[in-house]
């Protein structure tokens, strides 16, 4: 029986040591240290009880003394070991608490992302949610009416609702905007990421309600501003006509004033029976002023085509128009510039007497063709100042310009109609 004691002692000591070594290699060191301490106490109690039993059955004083000495040694050793383990445990406990404060744990990550104002969700490629925060869970509830359990399903719902709303918003790119029933506006994005070397997905949502409100206001103001600018454009264009009219009116007024003076001079000269030198000059003045007034008689405001027609006749070209001149000022201007260029070239290089201007309007695009009855160019046409300026302007509008030489000389232009801002609500 006595022989068991050292074996038990050795066994329990080894178990304690093993537990202690194991404790130092594990993250939950504190708990394991407490187990070790418990084992130590247990070992002490068992050994003490065993030696107590032995002392009762000891049949000699010498043996009893030996047992007592052993018990005393046992107590001393275990008191030392107990205090060693206790101080070691306290030390470990302190270190563990300190490390908990300084290191990031799963709980601290979850807590921090829950406090983020934005919505965040990490999931696998198949949609299994790895981590999501409070905002995203609430958003999922509002959008799908259920818990966030499948990231892919949630994204599909976001895309469905986004489309209905976003089509009218002209939002492009990777950001998707969605307006909730409660009036909040959120922007969503989805990006692939790597989670533990596996493909995963990160979905983020940002509350842009305020920003979106400001954007809408800005858009509204910009539209108003554009309308105002467009009206100013229109005004400026109309003003040219008004000024031209005013100039003509001023000429008329001057002519009428002149006539007043001539009338007075005529009245003064009338008593003279013979038409002397003064009479001749008065007559010349009458003729001059009447001729000027007559040239303005029945003068009505000309439209752009009538002006072009008359200007073409000034250089001896008969112009024929097939189609209708564009109404929009910028488009009309391009056609007029092209016609002026073609007329000048027809006279200078082709010796033409007729020019045909064809304007077609197909699928929100204008096609302009200019042909003449002059001689065909013998060499390749090198675009000079006028044509290159015209090309620049047409291409600047997203159009095309070309010159065909065969079978007839043709200058053609194609350009989109463009969108004019509606100046009236």
């Amino acid at each position: 029986m006595l022989g068991i004691i050292p074996i038990m002692f050795l066994f329990l000591t080894l178990v304690n040591l093993y537990i202690l070594v194991y404790a130092f290699t594990q993250s939950k060191r504190c708990e394991i240290c407490h187990i070790a301490l418990g084992f130590t106490l247990l070992t002490f109690v068992i050994l003490y009880l065993l030696t107590m039993d032995l002392s009762l059955v000891a049949n000699s004083n010498a043996l009893l003394l030996m047992i007592k000495k052993f018990q005393s040694l046992l107590v001393n050793i275990y008191i030392i070991i107990f205090f060693l383990i206790l101080t070691g445990s306290i030390n470990l406990l302190y270190k563990e608490k300190k490390s908990l404060k300084e290191s990031i744990t799963r709980a601290s990550i979850k807590e921090s992302i829950d406090n983020l104002p934005m919505g965040l969700c990490f999931s696998t490629k198949n949609g299994i949610v790895l981590l999501s925060n409070r905002s995203m869970n609430q958003l999922c509830h509002k959008i799908t009416g259920s818990e966030l359990q499948d990231g892919e399903f949630f994204w599909e719902k976001v895309m469905e609702k986004r489309r209905k709303f976003e089509d009218s918003l002209e939002v492009t790119g990777q950001i998707h905007i969605l307006q909730l029933n409660n009036g909040e506006t959120w922007s969503f994005s989805r990006n692939p990421i790597k989670v533990n070397n596996k493909d995963g997905v990160q979905i983020t949502a940002t509350n842009i309600t305020e920003l979106f409100g400001l954007r809408s206001q800005l858009k509204k103001k910009n539209l108003e501003f554009m309308k105002m600018n467009s009206r100013l454009h229109q005004y400026s264009e109309n003003l040219s006509h008004i000024k031209s009219k005013e100039e003509r009116l001023a000429t008329k007024t001057q002519l009428h004033n002149e006539l007043g003076y001539i009338l007075l001079a005529t009245r003064r000269a009338l008593p003279n029976k013979e038409l002397d030198k003064e009479g001749q000059s008065i007559l010349a003045l009458w003729k001059q002023n009447i001729a000027a007034l007559l040239s303005g008689r029945g003068l009505k405001e000309k439209n752009a085509f009538e002006e072009l027609l008359e200007a073409a006749l000034d250089i001896g070209i008969e112009l024929k128009l097939k189609g209708k001149l564009p109404q929009e000022s910028e488009n009309k201007d391009i056609v007029l510039k092209a016609a002026i260029e073609a007329l000048n070239n027809a006279v200078r290089h082709a010796g033409a007497t007729k020019l045909n201007l064809t304007i077609k309007e197909v699928e929100e695009e204008y096609t302009i063709e200019l042909t003449n009855n002059g001689i065909l160019p013998k060499e390749e046409i090198i675009e000079g100042g006028g044509l290159s300026v015209l090309r620049e302007r047409v291409e600047g509008r997203g159009g095309k310009m070309g010159i065909d030489i065969e079978p007839i000389f043709k200058l053609w232009i194609r350009f989109p109609q463009g969108r004019e801002v509606d100046t009236y609500d």
Binding site: M228, S236, E307, A311, D314, L343, R348
Partner: protein, 207 residues
């Protein structure tokens, strides 16, 4: 006889000029056209000694631009710009384009004939200043050249950024110039300023 081409879109003014010239005995009208867009071609096809060129001509073509082109290809042709527009930059642009003389329209026969004679004799005659006019509380002489540049662009209805880009200055500088002009004229806003400037003829962006 000196051969004259008249470029004028107002038929009455055109007729008056024709009468003045024909009556002079020294000049002969060889053509009258309404748009400066065809003046260059006309000069290439006909012998012209002198052009009386309006600035604002038919089809929206600027007489100043075409005059500069004609002067490049036919420097011997004398050109007199005739206009009733008080745009402050017309005189400068005419000088830059090599135009010989500049005349603010009137019905005074002697005045224009004398100007034509002196121009043909090799003189270059320009008015000392543009006609006086007022925008709000400010006279045209009170504006600086840079302010007038901004004012001209303002009539286009473009934004400060677009105006700034064209003039090579920042949008904030454009805004400052506009603010200065609003204070000078006492006008309420940029639109009123643009409309007043356009209406007065002090600036004219179209030609």
């Amino acid at each position: 006889m000196i051969r004259v081409l008249i470029v004028e879109d107002d038929p009455m003014a055109q007729k008056l000029l024709e009468n003045f010239i024909e009556n002079s005995g020294r000049y002969k009208v060889i053509g009258s056209i309404a748009s400066a867009g065809f003046a260059e071609t006309y000069c290439l096809k006909h012998s012209v000694d002198l052009i009386l060129m309006d600035v604002c001509t038919a089809l929206g073509v600027s007489g100043l631009e075409i005059s500069a082109k004609i002067k490049k290809i036919k420097p011997d042709i004398k050109i007199i710009i005739i206009t009733s527009q008080p745009e402050c930059d017309f005189i400068n642009r005419a000088k830059t384009g090599g135009v010989d003389s500049f005349w603010y329209k009137s019905s005074d026969e002697k005045e224009i004939l004398e100007l034509m004679d002196r121009t043909m004799a090799g003189e270059s005659i320009y008015p000392d200043c543009t006609p006086s006019l007022q925008i709000g509380y400010a006279w045209n002489t009170e504006f600086t050249p840079r302010q007038l540049e901004v004012l001209r662009e303002l009539t286009s209805g473009d934004t400060n950024a677009e105006i700034g880009e064209r003039l090579g200055i920042s949008p904030n500088t454009v805004r400052d110039y506009i603010q200065q002009m609003l204070e000078m004229t006492g006008l309420q806003n940029r639109t009123s300023l643009a409309v007043a400037a356009d209406k007065s003829g002090l600036v004219n962006k179209n030609y």
